[in-house]
């Protein structure tokens, strides 16, 4: 058959191997090339080339050679794959896989590697960054410091743009622009200097008005411009001084010394901080590898492990509760409406799945507001004054109720579908044999339903285990115990992680990543066990 159907290509490929075992090779043996197919291929590959070229320019400009090599290799790989007649499965798998690797696998691996570091507030950059930060933040005005006339400016938007100090040297009248990167001399032609030395306009910068500057005064106070002899800091909004760093790094002893008090802080490479003899640490440290410390801290530090296991327990209860309750209610209603004598089932169905069509993020907020103590509908309606989200158990029950409302239409829908797929003869046969409706439900309907819906129930469990919206948009994890603002009664592991990473307590990316790994391990284990126990799944692997 291949000689009759195939074009010139097949003579080349068919000689390469035995034809017929497995689909890919059969397909390869006669690849008819249609004009449309060719045009689509050329257009798509052209698009790929275009995107690659567009993406290459900024990489070249920034000198990111590794990124450029990666881009070139990916593009070359794509071209090879779609021009060769071989590797047919890869042609189908690659498009999704590229996205998967770039935006899912890579971030996950990045997270995993972060879990072994102390990355977070105070431990963000390298040791050199930390030394620069310590030295420049210790700058103080000393007798004889040079005083400059200062104008505060910004690059771009005066409210959000990065701040720049425009300073005029009192001796020479030269104007320089300075930011955290250092001081640069500006061309005299580009700036307008008022009598007295204050810069009123400069090319490329927006000079802030007094009002604009005073709203950003904290940022202005914090801005330190490193200079050769120390650093430049502001003193008020119109003067700056070049001060001397009180603390200096000495490579000989690998320590920081304070010139005034004489104290020394020695570098601790394990902790990524400078530590004094009495154990005091400087706030600015650097990122180091801490090995398994984050993991052991989660398990052994009583401040973390106590709430962690409580949260884990509630997390399981929440996921099981949400999945189980929605399934039970959805199935019960599906059973009730599933009768040949029942009229109007379509109307019921349309009305019942309305919650599923409503935007869930908005409805979560609506439920939150319905349970509001002061203005909420529930309290208004029943004349109560209950602080629903104020007590542990009422908050938990409320969250579960909201989940029930959001989730049961879906379960109702799938249970209805599964019920319709169960042959009526089966239940009829049991009733002929004298079984009660309950017996026939227990013995016939329920097992068949569970076989059909088990994969969905597992998926629902896995989803609810990390259902961050359900908690964050209602209770935000609260109520919190008075002594521990980190971990609330309705916190799931994922909301707890989010608070660790981005919370008001300061960022602890390392610990947060370690908790993420724990969550991943727990969910993967639970799912693996349940998938293994559903016999159905094994079939799919075949």
């Amino acid at each position: 058959m291949s000689t009759k159907l195939s074009g010139p290509r097949s003579t080349r490929t068919s000689g390469r191997g035995p034809v017929g075992s497995g689909l890919p090779r059969t397909v390869r043996s006669h690849v008819p090339i249609t004009a449309t197919g060719l045009v689509v291929k050329v257009v798509l590959l052209g698009l790929v080339a275009g995107i690659a070229i567009w993406a290459a320019f900024p990489l070249v400009e920034a000198g990111k050679w590794v990124g450029l090599a990666l881009l070139a290799a990916t593009t070359a790989g794509l071209f090879y794959l779609y021009l060769t007649p071989r590797h047919i499965p890869a042609k189908y798998l690659l498009p999704g896989t590229v996205f998967l690797i770039a935006f899912q696998v890579f971030p996950v691996l990045y997270t995993a590697s972060t879990a072994f570091t102390n990355f977070g507030d105070g431990h963000r950059g390298s040791k050199d960054d930390a030394i620069v930060a310590i030295q420049s933040s210790s700058v103080q005005q000393v007798p004889g410091s040079t005083e400059y006339t200062l104008s505060v400016a910004s690059e771009g938007d005066p409210v959000t743009g990065p701040l720049v100090f425009l300073v005029t040297d009192p001796a020479t009248g030269a104007v320089s622009a300075g930011d955290a990167g250092g001081l640069r001399r500006l061309d005299a032609a580009d700036v307008t200097v008022a009598p007295g030395g204050k810069v009123t306009a400069a090319d490329g910068y927006t000079v802030l008005t007094f009002g604009q500057a005073s709203t950003r005064s904290q940022e202005i106070t914090d801005l330190v411009v490193p200079t050769a002899g120390g650093a430049l800091r502001s003193s008020g909004l119109s003067r700056a001084y070049e001060g001397r760093a009180i603390r200096a790094y000495d490579a000989g002893c690998d320590c920081i010394t304070d010139r005034e008090s004489g104290r020394t802080w020695t570098a601790d490479e394990k902790a990524g901080s400078f530590v004094a003899a009495d154990g005091e640490r400087l706030a600015q440290g650097w990122k180091v590898n801490v090995g398994g410390e984050n993991f052991s801290r989660v398990l052994t530090d009583p401040n973390i492990s106590g709430p962690f296991f409580g949260t884990l327990l509630w997390n399981f209860a929440f996921a099981t509760g949400s999945t189980g309750l929605t399934f039970l209610l959805g199935m019960a209603i599906a059973l009730a409406l599933h009768s040949p004598r029942m009229r109007g089932t379509n109307l019921y169905r349309v009305l019942l799945i309305l919650p599923y069509a409503m935007p869930s993020f908005a409805m979560l907020l609506v439920w939150r507001d319905m349970f509001n103590t002061d203005f909420g509908l529930i309290n208004n309606l029943f004349g109560l004054g209950v602080d629903w989200f104020g007590q542990d158990w009422s908050a938990r029950a409320t969250v579960l109720l909201v989940q029930l409302w959001l989730g049961y239409p879906y379960m109702f829908l799938v249970a209805t579908g599964a019920l319709q797929a169960i042959p009526r003869e089966l239940t009829e046969a049991t009733s002929v044999d004298g079984a009660s409706p309950w017996q026939s439900f227990r013995a016939v309907t329920l097992p068949l339903l569970l076989v059909a819906l088990a994969p969905l129930l597992i998926a629902s469990f896995a989803y609810n285990f990390n259902n961050i919206n359900a908690i964050w948009l209602t209770t935000e994890g609260g109520p919190f115990p008075a002594d521990n603002p980190r971990n609330g009664a309705t916190d799931l592991l994922i909301t707890y992680t989010y608070r660790l990473a981005f919370g008001a307590q300061g960022a602890e990316f390392g610990t947060a990543a370690a908790v993420s790994i724990f969550i991943f391990a727990i969910v993967a284990t639970v799912s693996a066990i349940s998938f293994r126990s559903t016999r159905k799944q094994e079939e799919v692997y075949s």
Partner: protein
């Protein structure tokens, strides 16, 4: 005489019994249905009432509008906030994301279902495992990665729909491939084999034969992905900080984050408008949905 008197009594008994039987077999089903409908609808009724409440505050909203009806909240929504913009952003991102993601995962599902190659089983298990790791858990890494991306290519960085779209595509394979593969597996192999005999290429088999046959599952995954994307809040909230680039979820959260009581009417109006695209997509795909959901369910 007695026969005359008995007849209606028997009759009455019969109707009574029939009514009793109707109640036992069908009537209670309507009671359950009505109760369920009431549970489903009362929060929606509350939202409707809040949206039409001329005062527009949470505290003045009852289950049914008592203080008159007005469309002021809707007008305010468009005048005072960038709601129109958010709406367009959300539709664009959710529409594009659901279309592209079902295309990507149907490509992969076709390969997994119809082809045998080295690493197939490992690939399937890897997908299952990756799916367990919600993208949000890696938010710190994503944030750092996109900080670099924003520096290099501002067009796909923070505050752009494209960056968010790319990020959502990272999760496309994990979520839907298994569901679709299960559905592809139910199609008889003879179909594509005979097409191959007739000289169709693998691409033609996929596009002309397989895709039309799996329309129900495509509809379901498109709908699920659309709903999922439009409701996605946490990642979008980190990503989009400009008023103009926000999606509905991020923008509307901002409405009630600070002024919980006062903006509630506007928020409710926005909720109703947000439901419209979902309901439309639902209606459009309705005939596929029940069959698609359960077919996918049975096969896993």
């Amino acid at each position: 005489m007695t026969t005359h008197a008995d007849a209606p009594a028997v009759n009455r008994n019969a109707t009574g019994r029939r009514r009793h039987r109707w109640l036992a077999q069908v009537g209670w089903r309507h009671v359950v249905g009505a109760l369920a409908v009431a549970f489903s609808l009362f929060p929606i009724l509350f939202v409707l009432s809040a949206a039409l409440n001329p005062l527009g505050t949470l505290s003045s909203t009852a289950l049914v509008p008592t203080g008159g009806v007005s469309f002021e909240n809707f007008a305010n929504l468009f005048e005072d906030t960038a709601f129109g913009r958010w709406f367009v952003n959300s539709l664009l991102i959710a529409g594009l994301a659901s279309l592209v993601s079902i295309f990507l995962s149907s490509l992969a599902a076709y390969a997994f279902s119809r082809m045998r190659f080295a690493g197939r089983r490992v690939g399937l298990l890897t997908l299952l495992l990756i799916q367990m790791f919600p993208q949000f858990l890696a938010i710190v890494a994503i944030f750092l990665i996109f900080t670099t991306v924003t520096d290099l290519w501002p067009a796909i960085g923070f505050n752009t729909p494209w960056g968010l779209f790319l990020l959502y595509m990272g999760g496309a394979l994990g979520v839907n491939t298994w569901l679709m593969k299960g559905f592809f597996d139910t199609l008889p192999r003879e179909l594509d084999e005979s097409a191959t005999m007739d000289g169709a290429s693998h691409a033609q088999v996929f596009l002309r034969i397989m895709l039309p046959l799996v329309a129900p599952i495509l509809a379901v995954t498109a709908l699920l992905s659309f709903i999922g994307t439009i409701n996605e809040f946490m990642i979008a909230n980190v990503f989009l900080t400009n008023t103009e680039s926000k999606t509905l979820a991020v923008g509307m959260f901002g409405l009630v984050a600070g002024e919980r009581n006062n903006n509630f009417g506007m928020f409710a109006a926005g909720t109703l408008l947000t439901a419209i695209p979902t309901v439309l997509v639902f209606q459009l795909l309705q005939r596929y949905i029940v069959s698609g959901l359960t077919a996918g369910a049975v096969k896993g």
